[in-house]
């Protein structure tokens, strides 16, 4: 497999994972940008463990995940009950701080960062295995009592409270869960690109992921799956002179979508119609098969 294709598949998977982290917490109406910051922790710690302590990948990954989860818990405890805008601001601030911390602490190579991270065999399988695993988790969540509870919280928090839903606990759990996903994404990222520099985990990156989910459709996990490969794949094929405006285009797409088709391209009506049409097509197929039997 060519290197370019390898990167494309790897990074698509990683970005889908990150899109899902934003999607999952937004299910209860909160915009939590922490996974991008926690991604930095995952990337840096796993890279550091492998480079400076000589740990194998199999040890570095769980180590980073545990640290990431622990770190996700701390702000989660106070952000769980904060008003929505407080969480957005605090988590954006977290991104800036994380960048500053990693840029200034002596062990992580400053602005140059860590490089020369070893290649991991079958990383592609690991990545997609993890992706499918998380995908199944989210799918099961969406189609369970928890998913319905999340729907209620999103529509009307007070009603959710009267139904006995503990929004705070919900929020903390989701934040930690997505923190773990972010850490894993960070580890995979570090071992795909094989360098880790602070500039990666910053605001433009947050905006790119935000674009993927809000343009794709935030009411469903499929929006991210369909649109991430498109939205981040196209700039790669485009000539350099246009590709440089990538962030610009993301910004405009994001704004346009929110103003014109606020639920994103794949919104609930689309899914509903898709569902119905697929049902109709399947029925017709069955009838057609039956007819051919007689």
């Amino acid at each position: 497999m060519s290197l370019g294709l390898y990167y494309y598949f790897q990074l698509t998977a990683i970005f889908i994972m990150l899109g899902w982290t934003l999607y999952w917490v937004y299910r209860i109406g909160q915009l939590n940008n922490a996974p991008i910051a926690i991604m930095a922790i995952g990337a840096y710690l796993s890279a550091y463990a492998v480079l400076k302590w000589g740990w194998p990948f199999g040890l570095a990954m769980p180590f980073a995940v545990i640290c990431g989860a622990a770190f996700a818990l701390i702000p989660a405890l106070s952000l769980g009950r904060a008003p929505a805008f407080a969480m957005v601001i605090a988590t954006i601030a977290l991104i800036f701080i994380m960048q500053t911390v990693f840029r200034n602490l002596p062990w992580f190579g400053g602005s140059i960062g860590l490089f020369g991270i070893p290649k991991i065999k079958s990383l592609l399988w690991i990545t997609y295995g993890v992706l499918v695993f998380f995908g199944i988790l989210i799918f099961r969540f969406d189609h369970s009592r928890l998913g319905r509870a999340a729907d209620v919280i999103f529509e009307d928090r007070d009603v959710a409270g009267t139904l006995g839903i503990n929004i705070y606990l919900f929020s903390v759990c989701l934040q930690v869960m997505t923190g773990v996903m972010g850490t894993v994404a960070g580890v995979l990222y570090a071992f795909t690109i094989r360098t880790v520099i602070p500039v990666y985990f910053g605001f433009p990156f947050l905006l790119a992921i935000t674009t993927f989910i809000f343009v794709g459709g935030y009411t469903t996990m499929w929006g991210v799956i369909v649109f991430t490969p498109i939205l981040w794949g196209i700039p790669i094929i485009l000539p350099e002179s246009v590709a440089v405006y990538k962030n610009f285009i993301y910004g405009i797409l994001l704004m346009g979508t929110l103003l014109l088709r606020s639920e994103g391209v794949i919104d609930r009506r689309f899914l509903h119609r898709l569902h119905m049409n697929t049902g109709i097509m399947v029925k017709r197929l069955f009838r057609g098969l039956k007819k051919s039997e007689t």
Partner: protein, 291 residues
Amino acid sequence: MEIFIAQLINAIALGSVYALLVTGFNLLVVVGGIFPFAYSHIVVLSMYMCWFAMKVTGDNLLAGILAGVFAGTGFSFITEPIFRPLAKRGAVLGSFIVAMAMSLIITEIMSQKLNMGIVISFPQSLQGEEALIRFGAATITAGQIGTVVGSIGAGFGFFFLLYRTKQGRAFRAMGQSPFSARLLGIPIVKTRIYAYIIAGLLGGISAVFLAMALGTASSSLGDNLALKVMAVAMFAGVGNLGGGLVAALILGLSEGMVLAYLPGDWSQAIAFGMIMVVVMIRPKGLFGTMA
């Protein structure tokens, strides 16, 4: 000792500009009904306009000031129609994301097109070449005094507008209850536009003062300022104008003092600290929100 006083003056100047910024920000929140994350970026863009004007007019102070103020007002005015559908729906988080996108677009423009991404520095004339007061090794420049006095003046002007004029009443009414405001025949869209214009005006003035206080600007200043402005707003309680002033001064002072001992990067850490403190103890802000 004198150095301490000089730093203190600088910190006060910085704090007073933050106060102006927070006021404009809160106005957009309360009357505009949106979360104006891109406000600081518009201010920095205005700084660039001020710099540009001074460059083409051979360091003409008046040209720079006018350019900055008009740019701020104009840019803010242009963004109103973009946020209008979101404000109508009451989609605050949606407006936040749109503002985020806008801020990135502005940052990209600044880092790619304006001065080819190099940091701009403002001519000395803006900062007041002649030191007005000199004691020991410390000096206070005309720029710093101008900033403090100007900010106080602008602040007073704004509060006068808000509490003693018809339009100000309309602003406050809209902030407290858009429904009641509508019933009273207050033109909702027009009032919002006025709010954007005034916020832009405050932003433009802040841009000039920031140019005086900081001396330089870069494309990353937008994000930097946005974080601080939001930290102050959250600390005081979003929408709380009076509280915002106090919190802005606190931030300016602590930042000014910290900057003397730690690299500039860490000044953002204070803002972050303020945010986390508020979030953990009193999410509605120390002085409570307005509506």
